[in-house]
């Protein structure tokens, strides 16, 4: 059990699956000899060869479309988007072709599309995006957003073994910033569709995912220390299918809920969660479902601007205090 970073955990998961199952292969821009822009597939080209680690032209629609075609024929492609921002170029292919293939035509399309998402890295408007809401809306696509090294590994393995298309959004801010000791025995699987209580509490709940889990935990510490509040943090891990039972359970437990996500506010995932809570647990609410999110602007580049636009721990604390006061 060695300590590994989030990035190394992801790499381990990918490598284990490629060793386990020869149908698994990787395609994307610069994933081969270069090992990917963030080096996620470093060493893969050497170990698995050019045929299973394919450098592609700059053609996101073709990368996803080719992955789908190969998946129909029984292979298990893992497509890398160099930055997840470029998944927008495959939006048509994903939402119209991939998402509907099983429903329309019974076509199995077990592909994984993965790539680095998220901000806090001074990446500007096109290297910082959080595209989950754009795909949440399309029936047929599963979405996972690991927050920990354990889940980075467990979810990539589960995604590869899943019989449906899975979008795997890895947060580039976490790549080398968090570490965890993980077993290397190949059996670390995080079930798709199951949330995780990252911290137990009874006074209010923060529902969140991806890098924001860490901000929520930080805020929970502060709130415990300074306000004596016991804050529960629910890490969704999977956005589609969403773990409604876990959401309802935390609402029933604390009666106060806020949702934190890094994406912009309008049309973000928080809206869907708020609606589900209304429908399934309205009677349990002692206060409104509140959101902490990025402001509704493209993510700017300058540190002062980026810090202002993205959610910060202090924002989570402020909103939690207001909610606690209900």
């Amino acid at each position: 059990m060695a300590e590994v970073t989030y990035l190394e955990a992801l790499r381990q998961g990918l490598r284990e699956e490629m060793r386990r199952d020869e149908r698994v292969f990787i395609l994307g821009e610069d994933v081969g000899a270069y090992g990917g822009a963030f080096k996620v597939t470093e060493g893969f080209y050497e170990e698995f060869g050019e045929a299973r680690v394919i450098d592609t032209p700059i053609s996101e629609a073709a990368i996803v479309g080719a992955a789908a075609g190969a998946a129909h024929m029984g292979l298990r492609p893992v497509a890398e988007m160099q930055f997840i921002d470029f998944i927008s170029c495959a939006y048509d292919m994903l939402t119209n072709y991939v998402a509907t293939a099983r429903y329309r035509a019974g076509l199995p399309t077990p592909i994984v599309v993965r790539g680095p998402c998220g901000g806090y890295v001074r990446g500007g408007p096109f290297h910082s995006q959080n595209p989950e809401a754009a795909f949440l809306h399309t029936p047929g696509l599963k979405i996972v957003c690991p927050a920990t090294a354990r889940d980075a590994k467990g979810l990539i393995k589960a995604a590869i073994r899943d019989d449906d298309p899975v979008l795997y959004f890895e947060h580039k801010f976490l790549y080398r910033r968090i570490k965890e000791a993980l077993p290397e025995d190949g059996d670390l699987l995080t079930p798709i569709g199951k949330a995780r209580i990252a911290r137990e509490g009874r006074d209010l709940s923060i529902i969140t995912y991806s890098a924001m889990v860490w901000k929520a935990l930080e805020a929970a510490e502060i709130l415990e220390r300074e306000d004596g509040l016991a804050v529960e943090v629910l890490d969704l891990r999977t956005l589609v299918p969403m773990d409604d039972d876990a959401i309802v359970a935390t609402v029933e437990k604390t009666n106060k809920v806020m949702i934190v996500h890094e994406d912009t506010r309008t049309g973000g995932v928080a809206g869907e969660i708020a609606a589900r809570i209304n429908e399934r647990a309205f009677e349990w609410l002692d206060g409104p479902v509140l959101r902490v999110t990025a402001a509704d602007v493209p993510l700017p580049y300058a540190p002062t601007l980026e810090d202002y636009v993205l959610p910060q721990t202090a924002d989570v604390v402020a909103v939690a205090r207001r909610l606690a006061a209900y």
């Binding site: 394919i54 592609t56 032209p57 073709a62 996803v64 190969a70 429903y103 035509a105 019974g106 076509l107």
Partner: protein, 353 residues
């Protein structure tokens, strides 16, 4: 004209081209005629309001679909992906007329269980993958299908159709380029049929001939008269052979003509009458039939018998399909994912609607 007397000595039939056998010539006739007849049945059903959505004809283009698909080797597991005007290619790959009728009429037993329209369906066993509407998207998908052939060392070939209009899409470009770089065993058949909906080819592209686009991808280009069934077969067969031999992608241009509107609702007011008249004289099914007879490769009785068999099969299939029910409403919910089995039923909605 007096009927040709069987008593007169027949000239020796010319050699059959492109390595085909006589049975194959008859099989080809079966498919072009079946395509034509099936679409005529559909047109009738459409006029009776029994086709739920639009009807897309391949009138005048039957030879291009049939001849090209026929160049694939079904027993080798070759694969194709058709577009709306490639009904003929699906028939060649083994699609049943009954399936087509059910699909157009949105019946429960249709290949897509009533979920998809017209000929949007596929069959992995038989070797074709159904298109989606978004033009161009099947080119990357077929690149992926043929990538799987290459990765597994299988000597199988894929074929994907693309219209003069669809070639303007970004996905066509990305897909053929990907396949070219990977030297995949893919044949891209570009159908030049004069129009994309109402848009003439010159507003779609500034090239003279669609095959000129091969140069941009470093792939082999070839072309043929799309209304000459045997020429279509021959040019596609060359491309298929190249693909199977590991020589990569070929772009094959077939020049033909769309004699009906984009779909049945479209009255083609934008088309000059002389143009239609010219192409009506150049009917590929008639031309092939004449060729068979005149070359002595088939006798009139054989051809009439083949036509009768088709009519009979279609009579039966139409009657069967017409009598069938629509899908059960709640069946709409299953199958989005491999698991869980079904989308949630809205809580406010009783069973069955």
């Amino acid at each position: 004209m007096p009927a040709r007397s069987p008593a007169l000595p027949r000239r020796a039939a010319p050699a059959i081209p492109a390595g085909l056998r006589r049975e194959q010539l008859l099989e080809l006739y079966h498919y072009v005629r079946l395509t034509r007849s099936l679409e005529e049945r559909l047109a009738n059903l459409y006029r009776q309001g029994k086709v739920i959505g639009g009807l897309f004809r391949s009138l005048g283009q039957e030879a291009d679909s049939v001849g090209s698909a026929y160049a694939l080797d079904r027993s080798a597991g070759d694969f194709l992906s058709p577009l709306i005007r490639n009904l003929g290619s699906m028939l060649v790959q083994g699609a049943e007329p009954l399936a087509i009728l059910r699909q157009y009429m949105a019946k429960a037993a249709s290949p897509s269980r009533g979920r998809e329209l017209n000929i949007h369906f596929g069959d992995l066993e038989k070797g074709y993958i159904g298109q989606i509407s978004h033009l161009g998207d099947m080119v990357p998908v077929m690149a992926g299908v043929t990538l799987s052939f290459k990765m597994r060392g299988e000597r199988r070939v894929g074929l994907v159709y693309v219209g003069d209009g669809a070639m303007s899409t970004g996905t066509f470009h990305e897909g053929i380029n990907f396949a070219a770089v990977q030297r995949l065993p893919l044949v891209v058949v570009a159908e030049q049929n004069g129009y994309a909906y109402s848009t003439p080819v010159r507003k779609q592209t500034a090239v003279e001939r669609l095959v000129d686009k091969a140069a941009a991808y470093g792939v082999h280009g070839d072309s043929a008269d799309g209304n000459d069934l045997l020429a279509v077969y021959a040019v596609t067969k060359r491309a298929v052979d190249r693909a199977r031999a590991g020589e990569g992608v070929t772009l094959v241009e077939l020049r033909t003509y769309r004699r009906k509107g984009h779909a049945e609702h479209d009255d083609q007011s934008y088309v000059p009458e002389e143009e239609l008249a010219y192409w009506a004289r150049n009917d590929p099914v008639d031309a092939y039939r004449r060729q068979l007879e005149e070359s002595g490769w088939a006798g009139p009785e054989e051809l009439l018998a083949a036509e009768a068999r088709i009519d009979e099969e279609l009579d039966r299939a139409v009657a069967l399909a017409e009598a069938e029910p629509f899908p059960e409403p709640e069946s709409a919910l299953d199958g989005v994912c491999a698991g869980p089995p079904a989308a949630e039923r809205p809580w406010y909605r009783g069973r069955g609607g």
